[in-house]
């Protein structure tokens, strides 16, 4: 471990650290544009110049210089200051003076560093270079004249996103950053280049000219677009969510978020349910809360407990599911479920439905078997982690299921799920590879478990995990990749019954159920609920409201403090950034208020009492799960085909609709059409 002296401060840094990192360890601020911790080192902006002794008698780029023992680094000499001023002056030669109309203004590295390390004036009298704007798709707005060629976006696309479609064409003064032939970027992660861009060249297209960074209030929250639970910062102004940015969490999303997490938010203001509705003569009409509750009370009169059920959708929070379950219990029913796809999870064994290895744990694995899943669409962040592991730790990925481009090399075993039998009993040639692997993991998609023989597939996966020693020394390589934010929480609190939601739907269609509470389940065939009195509690006018007799408007994930458990089994809370729209209320309070009207008052008056009494820390035990039986041959049909249209918020979002259209390659419709 080299020990060096930075401005008189002695620091010891790990082997392989750069001088820049050593300076940071000593508490020195080093300006930089091209250097980024999570990308390869380019060393082309030259802003991080320092004096290094022993060495050539000139300043050197600290980001690309390995820290060595007994080095003496000077970061604050007159020479360094002058050198950085020179670099800054060159960077600004072709940079336009358009800060007042630039969206990066106020959060711009170039602006800040020009203030701190620049000369303050320019000596350049010639014309500045101008560069045409490049089309990069519906999410990224480009003003390429502002580009300083740090190539962070190019390196991100190549290294992290794994879609090598951004590059630098031309040379010298003619160099330009662009996507290949200005096609829309085809990655679920590429909007992160907006955050990476140190200047205003790449900015957010939907957020263009919407707000200034200092006008925004930031609320630390978590994302519910998928089951990853990415940590986000919700920026709001007044009562509107303006944008979503990633928040650092090394265990989950590092510092990236997927495009859907970032840009589905315009769906929070569209197609919202902002008032209670009651169906009268086949038509939904606006009503007051009291009226809606009275209608429900009336409908429940004389209905016995076994004629009532509750279903919850993919964005359901734990508090509300607990309240809903308690309410149904008070009404005499245990028929509650949150599995829209009938996936055969064993709610009794927590290890059977969570991502046991954890997302960060993927980096410990050396062999990964994907079964019936497309992580790129189901959990883009986890796919990015898989790619990172493939690149950095030599992870080998084997796919059993639909063929797709996962952005890293994958060995395709086949599409027929019955191959799993051969792996489980050791007769498949791949079994040898599993035997020799040091730390193999299996990632099971929910689509595989949603098949009729899902329980058998779960058992086969379990026996693979046992047979090939995936569970050992505090590491569990048996992973289920959930796709909805509510799923693990629902299973944790036993919000599940036999047959899942499809069984409830078929019973409702058969007239066996009189009253069904539908808490935001929209990815179902809601026509099945037409025979029952359906109470829809949700945020958006999507599929679920079609069969609703009463609609109770609730809060979206940015409008409430609620608990979600991600696919790893990690409980996290969203925070209230803005108020619910119109007359909508926080979800659990609706159930609590309704319980009062029904004379079954639930025993908690605030959310803390609800949480304390019900959300307890569960530990995954490696107990038995799955059911033995044969696996029929045939492919797994993935649940997600369109990444940008998976939930009510995304379906209400115009930005997501545009992304979906571009992804399909459909032509853009003009106004006249």
């Amino acid at each position: 471990m080299p020990t060096l002296i930075v401005d008189g401060i002695e620091v010891t840094v790990p082997v392989g650290a750069t001088v820049l990192q050593a300076c940071e360890a000593a508490g020195k601020e080093i300006p930089r544009f091209c250097y980024h911790e999570r990308l390869s080192i380019a060393g082309n902006c030259r802003m991080c110049l320092v004096e290094i002794a022993p060495g050539p008698p000139k300043v050197q780029a600290s980001c690309a210089m390995p820290a060595a023992d007994k080095q003496i680094i000077t970061t604050n000499s007159a020479k360094v200051k002058k050198a950085r001023e020179g670099v800054m002056e060159f960077l600004l030669i072709n940079h336009p003076l358009d800060c007042p109309i630039c969206d990066q203004g106020g959060e711009c590295d170039l602006q800040d560093q020009a203030m701190a390390y620049g000369r303050g004036t320019t000596r350049y009298d010639e014309n500045k270079r101008a560069v045409t704007e490049k089309y990069m798709g519906p999410l990224v707005k480009t003003v390429m004249t502002r580009c300083i060629h740090c190539t962070r976006c190019v390196r991100f696309a190549e290294e992290v996103a794994g879609v090598e479609e951004i590059g630098a064409i031309g040379r010298g003064e003619g160099m330009q950053i662009t996507t290949y032939l200005e096609h829309a970027a085809k990655s679920e992660m590429h909007a992160n280049i907006i955050d990476l861009c140190p200047v205003g060249a790449l900015t957010s297209k939907p957020y263009a000219f919407e707000a200034r960074s200092w006008e925004l209030k930031t609320t630390a929250s978590i994302d519910v677009m998928d089951a990853v639970g990415s940590n986000i910062a919700v920026a709001s102004r007044g009562n509107e969510v303006m944008r979503v940015l990633p928040r650092l969490n090394e265990d989950i999303n590092e510092e990236w978020i997927s495009n859907k997490t970032r840009f589905a938010i315009d769906g929070l203001t569209k197609r919202r349910l902002d008032k209670p509705y009651v169906r009268k003569n086949g038509k939904l009409v606006e009503a007051s809360w009291n009226e809606a509750f009275a209608t429900i009370k009336e409908a429940l009169t004389g209905v016995s407990g076994n004629e009532i059920a509750a279903i919850a959708g993919d964005l359901a929070d734990m508090e509300t599911m607990i309240a809903l379950k308690d309410l149904l219990g008070a009404l005499g029913s245990t028929r509650v479920d949150a599995r829209e796809d009938a996936a055969a999870f064993d709610a009794k064994s927590r290890a059977s439905y969570i991502f046991n290895s954890t997302i960060a744990g993927i980096e410990k694995a050396d062999l990964c078997l994907l079964v019936g899943t497309n992580p790129r669409l189901e959990a883009a962040i986890i796919n990015t982690r898989l790619r990172k592991s493939v690149r950095k730790h030599g992870l080998k990925v084997i796919n059993l299921g639909p063929v797709s481009d996962l952005t890293y090399p994958v060995t395709q075993l086949g599409t027929d799920i019955s191959i799993l039998k051969g792996i489980a009993n050791g007769s498949h040639p791949f079994a040898e590879q599993l035997k020799t692997a040091k730390n193999p993991i299996i990632i099971l998609g929910t689509a595989a478990l949603a098949r009729a023989d899902g329980g058998h597939i779960l058992a086969a996966a379990r026996s693979i995990a046992d047979k090939y020693a995936m569970v050992k020394d505090g590491f569990n390589g048996f992973n289920v990749l959930q796709t909805s934010a509510s799923r693990v929480g629902a299973l944790d609190i036993g919000f599940a019954t036999d047959g899942a939601i499809p069984a409830i739907l078929s019973d409702a269609a058969a007239g066996k159920l009189k009253v069904v509470f539908n808490y935001g389940a929209d990815n179902i065939d809601s026509a099945a609920l037409n025979n029952a009195f359906t109470i829809y509690i949700g945020t958006h006018g999507d599929a679920g409201v079609k069969s609703a007799a009463v609609i109770l408007p609730s809060a979206a994930y940015t409008e409430k403090s609620a608990t979600y458990v991600n696919t790893e089994g990690r409980a996290q809370q969203t925070q209230k950034a803005v108020f619910p729209v119109g007359d909508a209320r926080e979800d659990w309070t609706i159930i609590r208020a309704l319980s009062g009207v029904l004379g079954k008052t639930l025993p908690y008056d605030d959310v803390h009492a609800l949480r304390i009494s019900n959300i307890v820390k569960a530990t995954p035990a490696w107990s038995a799960f799955g059911e033995s039986g044969d696996i029929s041959s045939g492919p797994v049909v993935l649940s997600i085909t369109d990444y940008y249209q998976t939930n009510v918020v995304a379906r209400a979002s115009e930005t997501m609709a545009e992304c979906s259209r571009v992804g399909r390659g459909d032509p853009q419709l003009m106004a006249a059409e």
Partner: protein, 238 residues
């Protein structure tokens, strides 16, 4: 200029590109030169592709997007990475060029030695910077130093250098090429001027266009003069 234009390109041009039998042998040689999995063969392959397009179109060749993608697929490289290479190097043409690609050096040594006159000769022959003449014969490109400063001013036409130019000699070369005179290596005729060469062989001579051997001093040796005819021991003089 009225008689120059951009060549109109069929957007489908190059979609059916495939190596000729000869070239596919050359491709195999190029790929074998580099370690497996490396993409270093991209540069020779792009050059070969450009030359093949040139042979097919009777021009100096260029790289249409489908051809760039063809090379990328062959080397298992992302399209963007190959496009970056093709756009970085000026010897790859991303637009069609004529039968003769005149690359005129305008960098300091050539400019001081009269490249403006050479440029004027080009203009007077109907060439314009960045354009191709309507007859499809000439494309004029102004380039940076081509490394023949000792024989400035110079142009590169196709794969050959033409050096020690004047307005008249450049004009004459372009005129001769228009008239269909072939280009011949001037190596064996170094002390014959371009003008005499055309009269003698009815062809255009590469290299210096004046009576000059490579980049030797124009008026004969300036040093070691005694060494010109026989060996000479300068130590005697000491």
């Amino acid at each position: 200029m009225s008689d120059v234009n951009f060549i109109k390109v069929d957007p489908n041009f190059g979609r059916d590109f495939a190596w000729t039998p000869d070239n596919s042998k050359t491709v195999a040689v190029h790929i074998a030169k580099y370690p497996a999995g490396r993409h270093s063969a991209v540069m020779p392959l792009l050059d070969l592709a450009q030359r093949q397009v040139g042979e097919q179109t009777n021009t100096q060749g260029w790289l249409p997007v489908p051809v760039i993608e063809f090379v990328a697929r062959q080397l298992d490289m992302p399209y963007m990475r190959v496009y970056e290479v093709a756009s970085f190097y000026t010897m790859y043409n991303l637009q069609p060029v004529g039968k003769f690609h005149v690359q005129l050096c305008g960098t300091t040594p050539c400019m001081l030695r009269g490249s403006d006159d050479v440029m004027r000769a080009c203009k007077d022959r109907g060439l314009a910077k960045g354009r191709t003449t309507l007859d499809g014969l000439f494309t004029l490109t102004e380039v940076e130093c081509l490394g023949a400063c000792a024989n400035a001013p110079m142009v590169q036409i196709n794969d050959d250098n033409f050096e020690d130019l004047t307005y008249d000699s450049m004009y004459a070369i372009l005129k001769a090429l228009t008239e269909g005179l072939p280009i011949k290596e001037g190596d064996q005729f170094q002390t014959v001027s371009g003008e005499e060469f055309r009269k003698l062989y009815h062809a255009v001579k590469t290299g210096p266009q004046i009576d000059r051997k490579t980049s030797c001093p124009v008026d004969g040796p300036t040093t070691l003069k005694e060494m010109v005819t026989a060996n000479h021991d300068y130590r005697e003089a000491l």
